[in-house]
Chain length 468, copies 2
């Protein structure tokens, strides 16, 4: 087991010399903001010993060199919206705040790319692109509060992945400060590249364990001017789930396909105060968005989508208006009303296995004392299983959650799935990652991590136990 | 500098025990086939000391463990179609032949994926997909002779990359034997994944230096039933080159955009024996392919393409029939007629810099004693610069090629380009890779390579000098 040194007065002194004293925080009053992210269970919070808000990659480089010298662990905090305890400093030490790296550096219309510092909010990036007639296709549900660097670190998914892919598919290049403090630019504004190792994709999704992302160049695409949103209501999950592969094979190229089970249909309608919503009693929702560059194409695809939904057994097919999207967006919030402590999971499986996976999970859930709520980015096999603690005792909650997860993950892996589709492993799923990942793959990850971060300074306690 | 041990009788004996004696070759008569790939200059050939044709990942694992024990270098040979000396055993030692791993293992129509051994020919994979109504979108020009494992190792590009991306975008998962002999599966049949490091993308494009790819699962897409091919003839390169960004911004999503300069228009027409081809005297060609899932969409896009070409100054816009594609396909072969020794380069630049890059290269070329021929996958910024030695002396050839390349590469890097868009670095561009790659990036690559291949056994002398 790795041991670290505590943060000392000397360390703080050196830190202040790097950033200036006003950007170093050591008061418990201030540090308390960094003890959690979107984690709702206080048992999983962890206080850092200090926090620092650097202004540049150069300062981050110096901070990491300092941390290596003192053997102080560093946890990078981006927007703090992790659902996997990714921003919680589980080994204590220093929290590195990315908020001051917040500049949009360039929008190149001819080259269709945008370069920003890692601390820019996702929505600010999206809006800047939109104002120039472009789409930045990365679109996590947390876009209003997450920062783009965190999107890269977790390889965030979101609502547009069916058509455009996830965050790693939106990135041309990035600047990263390695765990030992070197500033390196990797990737390029290139459609093809066969020039050395694909380091940018290794860094993306490594949850801050292989480096601190400081600058990002993302792809822009022309904004598709036409769009329609269809709501298909089914009276049971099975036909809804089996419709998805047909939609994909038809060449419609939907932007998103979202699924809400009946508990969400009811919960979100209630939360939003909408009355007489279709399918309220026992319906499940599939919301389909299609974007096109041509009006006729949109009309034709709308007919195709309606046909496929009806033939697959939808009891109602209508336009998904703002109310429907508002319900979808409030899935998470509607849960907070029911239970202060809850758990959001994001298992991913091959798209053609989503139907049997959801059926299996509902079946597994029947044996447990909590309600199992499911919404899903169904077009990309990514499901959010939400468990609510409500008034359960800690002991019952923890034991039953553990047992439920072990059953669900074992099934997911048996059909080629993985623990996390878009939230990352963080600290929360580390023990499952250790359990379900084959030895060979863990060995490869450890070899790379240990080579790049010999003191295990950066984001320890995340993904795997790298140093044992 | 790394030193290796020669292949000994004992080593051969152990090798024969792994694969059976008939799959181990040591006769010079047989080994001569492996001294080169698509390299045409005999000065760059290198004889291996032995070759072995294993049947499975298990045998490859044993071979790599043996090679580590004896410190014998191993060069992986896939289809042997490298244009970057990627399959030449520049340090001698053992050549590992992938030809026996040639089974198509599964085509899953529901899941839209296909799993094959790494030694399956690219065209066999493409055809098998097609026969089931699917497209495998990887399409290097060498598809008839290259093997899929080699496509992954070099991150091969080819003709469909504008729309579908390059080989790395077609891959769900792969099995790899690491340099130290562990068999590991990485990736998954997943649209989203945020579960540990993205190892599959690190292996893809690493040119066999980080592992031997033994099995591959690729994505399939529905075969678009409609297609059209347009030939736009321009009377000079500039307007042709400036048309490309307009085509991309219009949301037409072309499958490919190919460029042939006038030397190719003439050379290929002559080679194919076609008379009275449009633009033969001084024209350059841009060939545009668009595929759609809908007939009306195809008609509409065809009009759009024609409009954009005409407005950008094309002197002739017509259907690109089989003759045009036959000319495009014979670019390489037409050169072989002119010069036994020639050099194909594949510099890549940002798409919006392709016009000035080609203009600059033509300008640079004027000062040199060889003809500079350019064709390009213009829609993805990837250009093939061909230099012909004809009857030049070795000395003049080598000196002028070196000077020309240094000028061209310096320009390419100055606009954000890289040495290779799709061929890889191999042995051929190693010295340029050392020169043009920033220290920080080289350091990251070396750290990873040294950690995974501590004896530098696998494909030494490729990409970089990893052990110095």
């Amino acid at each position: 087991m790795q041991t670290y040194s505590p943060v000392t007065a000397e360390f703080i002194e050196e830190l202040k010399q790097i950033t200036g004293p006003s950007y170093v925080k050591t008061d418990a009053d201030l540090l308390i903001a960094y003890q959690t992210d979107y984690e709702s269970d206080p048992k999983l919070f962890h206080m850092p010993e200090a926090a620092v808000a650097p202004a540049s990659a150069e300062e981050i480089s110096q901070i990491l060199k300092l941390a290596n010298r003192y053997k102080v662990p560093v946890t990078v905090r981006s927007g703090g919206t992790s659902l996997a305890d990714g921003a919680i400093p589980v080994c204590g030490g220093l929290v590195l705040l990315m908020e001051r790296l917040n500049k949009i550096l360039e929008l190149n219309e001819e080259g269709m790319y945008m370069t920003v510092e890692a601390g820019v909010r996702t929505i600010d990036l999206q809006n800047r692109a939109k104002s120039a007639g472009f789409l930045y296709a990365g679109d996590p549900s947390s876009s209003e509060s997450s920062l783009i660097g965190g999107n890269l670190a977790t390889n965030a998914g979101g609502l547009k992945a069916v058509r455009y892919g996830v965050t790693r598919h939106q990135v041309y290049a990035l600047e990263v400060v390695t765990p030992t403090g070197e500033i390196v630019e990797v990737g390029g504004i290139l459609k093809k590249c066969s020039t050395g190792y694909c380091l940018e994709q290794l860094i993306i999704g490594s949850e801050g364990t292989l480096g601190v992302i400081t600058k990002v160049t993302v792809k822009l695409t022309p904004l598709p001017p036409y769009r329609f949103d269809v709501l298909a209501v089914y009276d049971s999950p099975t036909p809804a789930l089996h419709m998805v592969p047909q939609l994909i094979k038809a060449g419609i190229e939907p932007t998103s396909i979202e699924y809400m089970d009946n508990s969400y249909v009811r919960g979100c309608a209630d939360y939003c105060g909408y009355e007489n919503m279709p399918g309220y009693e026992k319906g499940v929702y599939v919301i389909i968005t299609v974007e096109t560059y041509d009006a006729d194409d949109a009309d034709k695809k709308m007919e195709q989508v309606a046909d496929i939904c009806e033939q697959s057994g939808a009891v109602d097919v209508l336009e998904a208006d703002d109310r429907i999207w508002n319900m979808r967006r409030n899935c998470q919030t509607s849960v907070e009303l029911i239970s202060k402590v809850f758990l959001t999971d994001d298992v991913v499986v091959p798209v053609h296995r989503i139907a049997d996976t959801i059926e299996k999970i509902m079946d597994i859930g029947n044996a447990y004392p909590f309600e199992v709520k499911i919404n899903a980015h169904i077009g990309d096999g990514n499901l959010h299983i939400v468990l609510c603690k409500t008034d359960m005792s800690d002991e019952v909650w923890e034991k039953s959650v553990e047992a439920f997860h072990n059953e669900v993950y074992a099934y997911a892996y048996s059909v080629g799935g993985r623990l996390a589709g878009e939230h990352g492993i963080g600290a929360k799923k580390l023990r499952y990652m250790e359990k379900f990942t084959p030895e060979g793959e863990k060995h490869l990850m450890r070899t790379i991590k240990n080579a790049l971060d010999p003191n295990n300074i950066l984001n320890p306690g995340k993904i795997l136990n790298f140093h044992e």
